[in-house]
Symmetry: C2
C-alpha cells in the first residue's frame, strides 16, 4: 500500500529478543501484494500451550472457526498467517483452503492437525488460493530463525503503515521470562475484538487454562479499548503461546500470586500494541485518549466512551483541530447509558471546558485550541451518575481515511 | 454555508398550497448567519391540535424539553424555530432563553404559554441570545402569510444545501385536506430521531391523540429509517399540527377507517421528507437504499440495515464506486442480530452478488460496477433467518463530509 507512514508511528521498531522455543520465518507468496512478505509461520516447540480471543462477528471467517476449535485442545505447534486475503465469506472453498493449509503445516512441521493455528487478513469474499501458502512452506521451514521478528510483523500487515511489535520481561519465581508481541490492524477496528491479528509469545511455563484467562483479561484492558471506525472485522484474532521453556515451576492458575509481575507486564505489552493500532488508524493524524468517569458502572463507561470515540462528528472536529465540545455532549447523549445532562463535565487537554451542564464561566478557548493542534489529544468526561470508569483510545477521521477506503481494492 | 448544492437534490422546490389556518413568516435575526432568514414563526388558528416525536438523547436541548411538556396539552398556536444555535447544553441560560421566547410569543400572538412550541438547531453549547428572536417577532407578526413555505423551509436550514418540503392531498369523508411538510437536517442524522427538525401542517380535523398516534407511526416508517453518520442530535423534533379547519366530521382515533387514505398520504409525505434528508447528507454524492430481509424480526432487520448504513467502510466503498460487498458481510456480522453466514445473500443494483454464503459462481462484477457509478445505489441483503424486513436510506461518506465537519464552527 502506497500510503505514507502514520505521523503517529513510534520513532523506531523495537528490538525483540528471542523467545526460547519459538522460531519464525516469512515469505513472499504473492497472494495479493507484490514484492513483500505476506506469509508468516511461527513454529513452537512441543508442549507449547495456547489461549486466545476471536471476533464476535456472526459472519466470522473460516480461519477464525479453526482457531476457536483448536484452542479447546490448548496445545499449539504452528501458526500460519497470510495477508492480502481474509478467506472470509468464502463458503465451502474457505473451509477447504483452511484444511489444505492445516494439512500441509501438520505434515511439514510434524505435528497434529489440532496444533495448527491459521489466520488470514485482507479482502473479504475472494477465495483464498491456499496452494500459494503451502507452496512456500518448505522454504519457510528451511529458513526458520529465532530472531526474525521484524519480518514477522511486516508479513501480517495490510493497510498498516508501520509494523507493530512490543516486548517485555518479567520474572516468575525469580526466573526471567520474555513476552514478545506482534500485531496488525488499522481499519475495521472496533472492540470484540479490535480488527486485528495479534500474537503473543512467551517462554513462561503456563498451563493452557492460565494462558486463556490471562489473555482474555488482557484483551479487555487493551484491544477492546481501541476503536478506529466502529467496524468489527470478521477475522479478529488474538492468540497467546507459552512455550513453557523457562525453568520456573509450572503455573496452572492465572491468579497464582507468582504471576503478579507477569500479568502486569503482559497487560502493559497488550496496551502498547493496542495503542499502536490506534496510532495507525487509517488516515490518522491525531491519537486520542478518552477517559470516562462518573458512569453507572464500568461497562456503561466503556459504552459512552466508545460512543464518543466512534462519533464521526467528534472525529472530524478533532481532525479539523476544532474544540467543538458540543459534539461530545451529543455523543454522550446518544450512547443510551445513564448520564446527567446537568452534571456533565468535560476537560480537554487538562483544561476544564464544561461543568454542571454548561460551558465554564468565562470559558477561554485559547489553551484548548492550542491542545487541539497537537498530535496527542486527551478528552476527559464525567457524566455525573456513579463510579464507573473506562479509557478508550482512538484517532481522528480525516481525508486519508476516505482515500484509503474508497479505493481499497483498486 | 458555502457548500455546493447536493448533486442528489430534487430538481425543484415543490409548490406548497396554503393550509387553512396556518400563516407563516420568517426573518433574518442574525443569530449566527448573515444575510439570510434564520427565524421561522408559524401561527395556527385556535383549536389546532398537535402531536410529535423528539430525540431520545439523554442530553436533549432545552427546547426539546419544552416541546415534550407542551405536547401533553395537545393544543398549539405558535411554532418558533431558529437556526444557527441549538440552545443545547446551555444549562439554566438555555431554559431562560426558551422561557423568554415563549413569553414573547404568547404575548404577541395572544395565546397560552403551553400552546407555544420552540425549536433551535445549530451549534451546541453556546448560549442563545433569545432577544434576537423576540426582537424580530413583531415584524414577523406583521408579515404573516398563508403561502410563504419557501422561506419557512429556508429559515430552518443549517448545513443543508437545499430547502426541503413536500405536500400531499387526501380526502377524509370525501372532503379534501392538505398535508404540507418542511424539514431540515443533513448531518448528525440517525434515528430516534434522525437529526432534524420537521414540521407537518394539515387542515384535517383530528383530535390530539390521533395526531400523536399518526405521527409516531409515520416517523417509524420514515425519519427513523434514515441515517447519515449514526450521530443523534440533541435537538431532533418532529411535530404535526392539525388546524381542524376542514369541514369533515372530527376524527378522534388514528385507526378510524376514514383515515385510511390520509394515513397513506401522510406516511408518503414523511418518507419523501426523510429521503430528502439522506439526499442532503453532508458531502453525499450517492443516495443509498438498503433493503434487509430474512431477519429474525423487523427490529432485528432495522438494526442490521442500520449497521450496514452506518459502517464507515461500506460508506467509503460506495463513495469510491467500489462494489466491495465483503464490507456488507462485515457489517451484517457486527450488528449483533441473528444472521446465517452460510445462507447470506447480497444483491447490488438488482444483480446477485453473493448467495449461500459466498460469491455467486462466475460472478461478473461489470454490471455491479456500472451500478456503483450511478447516483442511486440499491443494496438488498437477506440474512437467512426469518421473515423480518426493513428499509433504510443513507448516503455515502466522502471528502465533503470531512470538509464540512472539520471546520463547522470556523
Amino acid at each position: 500500500m502506497a500510503h505514507p507512514i502514520s505521523p503517529l508511528a513510534p520513532p523506531t521498531f523495537p528490538t525483540l529478543p528471542p523467545v526460547k522455543g519459538v522460531r519464525l520465518a516469512s515469505a513472499a507468496a504473492g497472494i495479493r501484494y507484490k514484492d513483500r512478505v505476506d506469509v508468516l509461520v511461527a513454529e513452537m516447540v512441543q508442549g507449547t500451550t495456547v489461549g486466545g480471543v476471536v471476533t464476535k462477528s456472526l459472519t466470522a471467517a473460516a480461519p477464525v472457526d479453526l482457531c476457536k476449535a483448536n484452542m479447546k485442545g490448548g496445545k499449539a505447534r504452528v501458526l500460519v498467517v497470510n495477508a492480502g486475503n481474509a478467506n472470509a465469506f468464502t463458503g465451502q472453498k474457505g473451509i477447504s483452503a483452511v484444511e489444505a493449509t492445516v494439512s500441509a503445516a501438520a505434515r511439514i512441521f510434524n505435528c497434529k492437525r489440532n496444533e495448527v493455528f491459521v489466520s488470514s487478513t485482507g479482502t473479504i469474499g475472494v477465495p483464498l488460493p491456499a496452494e500459494k501458502i503451502t507452496d512456500v512452506m518448505p522454504a519457510i521451514n528451511a529458513a526458520l530463525k529465532e530472531d526474525d521478528w521484524t519480518n514477522a510483523a511486516k508479513a501480517i500487515m495490510t493497510t498498516d503503515t508501520f509494523a507493530k511489535a512490543a516486548t517485555r520481561t518479567a520474572t516468575i519465581d525469580g526466573v526471567p521470562v520474555t513476552i514478545n508481541g506482534i500485531c496488525k490492524g488499522s481499519g475495521m477496528v472496533a472492540p470484540d475484538m479490535a480488527t486485528m491479528l495479534a500474537y503473543v509469545f512467551t517462554d513462561a511455563a503456563l498451563e493452557a487454562g492460565a494462558v486463556q484467562t490471562l489473555i482474555t483479561a488482557g484483551a479487555n484492558k487493551s484491544f477492546n479499548c481501541v476503536t478506529v471506525d466502529g467496524d468489527t472485522s470478521t477475522s479478529d484474532t488474538l492468540l497467546m503461546f507459552a512455550t513453557c521453556q523457562a525453568k520456573h515451576r509450572f503455573v496452572s492458575s492465572a491468579v497464582d500470586p507468582r504471576l503478579t509481575e507477569f500479568r502486569a507486564k503482559l497487560d502493559d505489552l497488550l496496551i502498547d500494541l493496542a495503542k499502536q493500532v490506534a496510532r495507525d488508524g487509517e488516515g490518522a493524524t491525531k491519537f486520542v485518549e478518552i477517559r470516562l468517569t462518573g458512569a453507572d458502572n464500568d461497562i456503561a463507561a466503556r459504552r459512552i466512551a466508545m460512543s464518543i470515540a466512534n462519533s464521526p462528528l467528534v472525529k472530524t472536529a478533532i481532525a479539523g483541530e476544532d474544540a467543538n465540545w458540543g459534539r461530545i455532549v451529543m455523543a454522550v447523549g446518544k450512547a443510551g447509558e445513564k448520564a446527567n445532562r446537568d452534571r456533565l463535565a468535560i476537560t480537554i487537554g487538562g483544561v476544564q471546558v464544561a461543568l454542571a451542564g454548561e460551558a465554564v464561566p468565562g470559558y477561554d478557548e485559547t489553551p484548548v485550541t492550542a491542545h487541539m493542534k497537537g498530535k496527542e489529544i486527551l478528552i476527559e468526561v464525567d457524566v455525573g451518575i456513579g463510579r464507573g470508569a473506562a479509557i478508550v483510545w482512538t484517532c481522528d477521521l480525516t481525508h486519508g481515511y476516505i482515500d484509503i477506503n474508497g479505493s481499497y481494492r483498486t
